[in-house]
Symmetry: C2
């Protein structure tokens, strides 16, 4: 505890250590508080506490050899260090590389009031709809944009990236055929990184990927006619810039539909503002990236992918969908719809493992559309098209020795150099003379894509690169002769007609709209979000600042390596630090969510087994307590999921594990275990479990979601795991963004390194190449690099000495709360008698005993909203319970406020059970303002005061749920997931 004082408060006399220590800001309790909390629990100091908490064979306390000062960088040092790294990226270059990543302008009002606003970025996935109406509305806008532009009625609230979205389309098509149709056709002009992800995703199911050249329509139709074909994916506009005609697209759709196959189209939202929507040609699924709607390229991510489907697929669509429903008072209100489709319910029967997606970026894209409106968007698209065409005209003129290979285009030209130059020479000229990056298709062909940021000057420079005309302005004839998008390909319907896209076009109006949305959401800026398994810790300003620096934002994922030295340095150092922390030998940064990490880890294991001639090993043991993504991911890897029991004390049933391992030993591939367990317990026998698996020829996959209890105390590697994903958005401070972005690198032992994913367009700079590398698991080589500076800064600022205190204080906070609460509630699996006297960093409040008396866990969850809190994790891992995880960033006062609230609720539960009318307060919770001011209150049996201000602190600071309790069933029965209904919501005075 002395050590804690030292870490927390730097000595003014020690001049080497800056006074703006991060630890003091990241960690909630002061040394004085810590002493008090320890005393409450009967401990002398933190060491004693940790020693009695973490089993001795688990506790390793290996020094963390981080690349930072032992006590971490000061906050200002960190920013300076970050700036130095950032400036090593070549970020003032114009990136015309295209391929799914484009220059865009993030409107400053959205940057400041959304992307840089903790009210937006610290919120959680909107599972508690009553306190999430703002981002739900914004995500509904996103879905409406997607639905409007693609022409398909149902869209989801984002997927991880275009590549995995394509993967989802393929698997949806495959699964729809009940896995009977084993061929999948793709246009050769799909983006190369998408192809790579499709290869990855096809492999476990032995789906045969067939690439066709759609310019040979007859041949293509011939291939599509095969009844084994589950579906086809074309890119529209294609990666070379060309646009397939409506006739061709329709003919594909017809042939596919004749055999009950699905027609999928990867498209571009900016193009779709002008282009006929794929729905017009019979597309069943349209997908792509919304990056160019205001989201920085960020070296590849995070960006929100989109996915829309025809009506009949609306219950098959992967990912989260926002839908309109009603609240208890019949007022329209939004919530996540059709959740029974998702992995947390369907587990290994789920058709997708996606969990955290890209909500924050979807919200940027949606608000980009709100701000620009249909005219604004079309203006941008028209200018892009016009400039592209002017350039094409120049290249096709007598002043150029080159030619355009794509017959038509929106923003992309593929230029055949006709042997008159080399790609290398042209790229060099563009870079050195004009500071532009183009893309080399091969030695003799280059391509380029224009975008929102392209200026007249850029256009002039491009003309100079590709022609020898000195008077380039002649190609840039403005006014009358400005090229207009060809009628043949154009859409003529009105887009984005909903008022929300036609109202907020002044900055003042936009500011207010963003502010209004934000004020309807509870985030970490309001109060603790004690979500077990989610680790809602501080996302500090210093960590977040670099996210909107152009040095990190304006980098294309396919930019030449020598231009991304800054990222290279940052990512390499982060990998090394993560290796130290986890005890692993290698890291892949590619997985961009926990579920993706699981998928990648399991694929890496399978690849390793395959390389040993054991490709038949396909059994994955998974404890019944596991998070739904575990079985879902295993299933997506083509694995057979075998459940393993848990004991009544919450621990893994080791004998059942042995039994199953033995039973399946010939086919055992892996076990997936969460540690500390999903019950928030340090299981002492874990290393035995690992031994059993290894002895039976399997590999150990550790789900690292609970890493926040391990850092500096133990590690997956030390414990003996072979692979583990690290939810950077939990343990390593990436904010949850209201449902994404995530970051979930996997760490592996050395034998698995050769199998880590590669990338087809660029080499992974931080890795060694290997013949065993699996294909890409995501579109971008490093997952979501733009948010990696957050974790990097977190680690560097906490430092070797500070970082373990994150885990220690997280556990202290949890155990302190539990100590106070256990006098009022049963805590699952914890008792003075059992071997579990402590929880790790989270604990489970058991409410099942009240169920038969009429009080459900959800009543408590909703009533907590009236106390200004987000509910703990509901019903995971055990139905009828609440799992509380405070994290280290909460201070004593806030812990006490939460505990006091739970104790007060206990009184309300008792009142309910005793049949006192006042107990109804639980059933009517949360109490929205409209509810509170409504007239007929007399029947309630409790006062408005009691409903609104059950504890005194609330009068000073309370978050008000904008709607009353949601009616989920109504919404799922009447699925409505695009915008017109928002208007209803807004205007309905019900």
């Amino acid at each position: 505890s002395l050590q804690y004082e030292k870490i927390y408060r730097p000595d003014p006399k020690m001049l080497d250590r800056p006074l703006d220590s991060f630890a003091r800001r990241h960690l909630g309790p002061s040394p004085k508080n810590v002493a008090y909390m320890l005393k409450t629990m009967g401990y002398e100091d933190l060491d004693g506490f940790v020693n009695s908490l973490v089993p001795p064979d688990i506790l390793k306390k290996r020094p963390l050899l981080l690349e930072a000062p032992a006590e971490g960088f000061g906050e200002q040092e960190m920013l300076e260090h970050m700036e130095q790294i950032a400036n090593k990226n070549k970020y003032k270059v114009k990136n015309l590389i295209g391929k799914g990543y484009y220059g865009t302008i993030l409107p400053p009002v959205i940057q400041r009031n959304l992307l840089e606003s903790p009210e937006w970025y610290t919120s959680y996935t909107p599972y508690q709809p009553e306190i999430s109406q703002g981002r739900l509305e914004s995500l509904l806008n996103f879905q409406t944009v997607i639905s409007d532009l693609t022409g398909l009625p149902v869209a989801n609230a984002s997927l991880l990236d275009e590549g995995t979205a394509a993967g989802e389309a393929m698997l949806l098509s495959y699964n729809l055929s009940r896995r009977k149709k084993t061929k999948y056709v793709i246009d050769s002009r799909v983006h190369p990184q998408t192809k790579s992800v499709l290869l990855t995703r096809a492999h476990p199911f032995d789906i045969e990927l067939i690439e066709i050249d759609t310019s040979h329509v007859e041949n293509a139709l011939e291939v599509l006619k095969d009844p084994k074909v589950a579906g086809c994916l074309v890119q529209y506009p294609a990666t070379d810039g060309s646009i397939l005609s409506g006739e061709v697209l329709s003919s594909f759709a017809e042939v596919l539909h004749a055999n009950k196959g699905l027609f999928s189209v990867a498209s571009d939202l900016m193009a779709l503002t002008l282009l006929k929507p794929p729905a017009d040609f019979g597309a069943d699924i349209v997908l792509g990236s919304s990056q160019r709607f205001g989201v920085p390229m960020g070296f590849g991510g995070p960006h929100a992918a989109f996915f829309s489907v025809v009506e009949k697929l609306n219950r098959k669509i992967p990912g989260r969908i926002v839908g309109v429903s009603k609240d208890r008072l019949n007022k329209p209100a939004l919530r996540l719809a059709l959740q029974t489709r998702e992995q947390h319910i369907k587990r290994d029967k789920a058709t997708s493992n996606i969990c955290t997606a890209q909500a924050l970026l979807a919200n940027v894209a949606a608000n980009y559309c709100v701000y620009h409106g249909p005219e604004g968007l079309k203006d941008i698209a028209e200018r892009i098209y016009g400039m592209t065409t002017i350039l094409a005209n120049a290249i096709q003129s007598k002043f150029s020795k080159f030619s355009i290979s794509n017959k038509n285009w929106f923003d992309t030209l593929t230029i055949d150099l006709n042997g008159n130059s080399s790609s290398k020479a042209i790229l060099n000229k563009a870079l050195e003379k004009y500071n532009m990056n183009l893309f080399a298709v091969d030695e003799n062909i280059v391509s380029l894509s224009l975008d929102e940021t392209t200026t007249r000057e850029d256009l002039v420079n491009l003309v100079k690169i590709f022609t020898d005309s000195s008077d380039v302005t002649k190609f840039i004839s403005e006014g009358n002769e400005f090229p207009v998008f060809p009628k043949q390909y154009a859409r003529f319907d009105k887009i984005l007609t909903d008022p929300v896209f036609n109202t907020h076009h002044s900055e003042t109006a936009m500011l207010r709209y963003l502010h209004r949305l934000q004020s309807r959401d509870l985030s970490l800026a309001n109060s603790m979000i004690p979500l077990g398994s989610c680790t809602m810790k501080l996302n500090s300003t210093v960590e977040m600042m670099p996210i909107t620096w152009p040095q990190f934002g304006n980098i294309h994922p396919f930019q030449p390596v020598d231009q991304v030295e800054g990222y290279k340095e940052l990512l390499s150092s982060l990998e090394r630090d993560l290796c130290t922390i986890t005890g692993f030998d290698g890291i892949s940064l590619q997985p961009n969510s926990g579920a993706q990490g699981e998928y990648t880890g399991l694929r890496v294991i399978r690849s390793y087994l395959e390389s040993k001639g054991e490709s038949h090993r396909d059994v994955c043991l998974i404890p019944v307590s596991a998070h739904g993504t575990n079985p879902a991911s295993a299933a997506m890897c083509g694995m057979k999921v075998v459940p393993v029991n848990c004991l009544t004390d919450g621990s893994l049933d080791l004998s059942d594990l042995k039994l199953q391992a033995d039973k399946y030993k010939d086919n055992l591939a892996a076990v997936m275990i969460t540690y500390p367990s999903t019950y928030g317990l340090f299981e002492p026998g874990i290393q035995n479990a690992f031994k059993v698996i290894h002895e039976n020829g399997g590999q150990v996959y550790l789900d690292g979601a609970n890493m926040n209890a391990q850092v500096g105390l133990t590690s997956p590697g030390d414990l003996g795991a072979d692979v583990c994903h690290l939810n950077l958005h939990k343990t390593f401070s990436i904010p949850h963004g209201g449902g994404g972005p995530a970051g979930a690198p996997i760490g592996v032992k050395s034998h698995l390194i050769p199998h880590l994913p590669k990338h087809d367009v660029v080499d992974i700079v931080t890795a060694v190449k290997s013949e065993y590398s699996i294909d890409s698991v995501g579109s971008a080589p490093y997952g979501n690099p733009l948010v990696l500076p957050i974790s990097y800064a977190y680690i560097k600022m906490m430092g070797r000495e500070g970082l373990p205190f994150s885990s220690v204080i997280a556990m202290l906070n949890a155990n302190y709360m539990m100590t106070r609460l256990k006098n009022h509630y049963n805590i699952l699996f914890i008792s003075q008698e059992s071997k579990n006297r402590h929880c790790a960093h989270e604990f489970i409040i058991d409410l099942r005993e009240y169920k038969k008396k009429g009080v459900e866990a959800i009543d408590v969850a909703k009533r907590l909203q009236d106390y200004g809190f987000h509910a703990p994790t509901l019903a995971f891992p055990v139905p009828g319970t609440l799992m509380v995880e405070p994290t280290e960033s909460e201070n004593l006062e806030e812990l006490d406020r939460f505990v006091d609230s739970m104790i007060a609720i206990k009184g309300e539960i008792e009142a309910f059970i005793a049949g006192e009318p006042k107990g109804q307060v639980l059933k009517n919770a949360p109490h929205s303002l409209e509810d509170l001011v409504s007239e007929d209150w007399s029947a309630r049996g409790y006062t408005r005061e009691e409903a609104a201000f059950p504890l005194a602190f609330l009068k000073n600071n309370k978050f008000w749920p904008p709607v009353a309790r949601l009616d989920d069933a109504y919404g799922d029965m009447n699925l409505m997931c695009t915008c017109p209904s928002v208007l209803e919501v807004a205007n309905d005075d019900a």
Copy 2:
């Protein structure tokens, strides 16, 4: 109107014009809206509208030759341009210049969630306390910090800068003697810029400023004994770094008090965390700057000055004071106290003209203290002291040829080079080898001040500069021997003991505190703030972004000119643009508020008259309708204020003006006129008025507060004014910051240019030197340079063609509202019959007729809060009225919501008059949440619904007043203006 379409929405075909046009974002109504609004009022187009609005002799429409593209920069172009300029400032240098400006660290969480947050910076002065509790609480914290650290019980909520604060202290002392004591004594070691401001302020009253050397205590006491001495000001620590002993200070106080003089101390807050508070030695007034508590130096401002006084002066203290009172429900609540002291009530009897102050920066400083707490602040101060002492030891060692002239210090050393080097050589060495700026006191003496940002490496470099020791570390003995602040000077009381300074030390806690405060305030992020005369227009993100760039922030006002090329370019261009816009020949950027502008302009006029041998001219004619600062400023210039009548139609009584001008022609100095008038009217006869003044030997001062109706249509210069201040915080987009910062340059005709203020420490780079220059009106050479990029960007983004539309649309919005409202309310001075059929950019709703029936204007103002709006300007310029100014940034929907609200309130007024119980809703307004959920509602005569949601739009978006109507009288009777009471506020459940 065609022109408007063109400005509003750039043509995608015109490649020269970026699509991210600012005009579209700044201006509320779309071209379609404009057409509709014109139609409502019976106009065909904007030209017709403007022509019928602005009298033909006023309408000049001179093209504005701005230094920017005709249609303005696009937003991204602007940011790039700004970055180019910014990078021309040498900002990575360490500025050890001191003299009241120090390096400091703005904690990132405060930067992002306060300084960069529109919720904070767009709010207005908290005159409507019910919807301003957040910033009032923060300002109360500021007052508590000041009171705690200075030891004096009463502090105000900020003044403009240290120099003017010293001026206020001097005038307070002088006025307390009923202007009988005409001598004022200052320590020669007061900061030089403060001396200059004192000279300025003393001049009009013929106060004799006597400079004494306080190191000769006996001599000093002799001077102070003179009964003509009104007071004395010392600097503690002094500008040379030395600290006067308690005995000396006490002896000064005693002597002064014996003659009823006042003892004033200019001090430094960081030093005061360690140093004995001046109150201990009998100080009556303590003042200074709070800049180093987190506020960037910003080339001189804006920073909040502080001012505290002994109890007996509590009704004499200048500026705004936040005090604790109660609301209607007896709940403690904050509001501005003792307003009857201020100029808007006392007019020329006021002892200060200060109006807008530095609220935003005071809030930064207050929250810096909240975040660091007493220990954190002391840690910083101790390190500064320790490092300074280590350096002093080195310089006093045998390794140095120099010596320290100050015997003691906190952070500042004055170093006598003893002829062994020259200041120039040392400054050069420091700059070139170590990238540090020191201060040259004279050719042989340099000084330097350490601060929060000084690192060990800096210290090593300083030792290298001043010694020839190669092993500098020997001076930096850490641990045991680290220098400790000498007991003799140290304070031993506890500082900042209030819980607010001891609670929010983690970033999470701080974030929530800032968020909670912000959520209690209504700002432009919520809804229109239609304050007549205040011009609450958009403060756009692009304009605001550069404010927190280090390139602008990290610049010391006394940094050598060749290091501030960026500022020089920006300020010069801004001056030229403002000349074009105003029709003037010269600009001074020094005045940092409107009131300061008035003062400066009048002083310039008097200096001009003096230079013509007409120093006897001292009469200033001011219409009775004038803003209170006008007469107060004139009085502070030693002028005799003569009121001029207004006619019943609101216009100036020209014949009275003639009468007075004639009557006072021998002594006529000036007239002060607001244009368009404070009634919001274009007075046609204005040029005649000017002629009359000129003919009688006077000069014309135009109050430019209403410039927003003039830009591009007419101008003060064209109309014939000689001088005018421009409230940049109104017309030119600087945000109001909840009560400052401001910016109010004055423009002058060429004959006045030689009289513009100079600066004593540095030359004004944008001006020509002149023997006639008046002394400084503020501490910093260019006023508040850090906020000038805002106005610069506003002008450059609107461009020559866009800028006039700000005025035109501002007037369109006002007249549209008025057109709708005049069917329901009387509009003052406006009628179909009178010559005023239109207002300019604002109009006055006359509520006087309802007064006798029991409804006051304040009832309407408070009831508007229930409709989610900030009230219009209340009781200015006419008691019993509301003055509405929507500005150009509001869109049609918002105008309509406000008008609808006013119409609904009209119904409530009628109900009240008819004696219907429902009319009581006006008297109980605003309805706080606690009020709404309270039990005993039955007596109200209206429902909770009617109270809370009188119109449907409110259910979707409503701002909730956190307290009920304030009881002003209670608070003024029980003055309480420091923190302990905040706790009461927070905890009181009354």
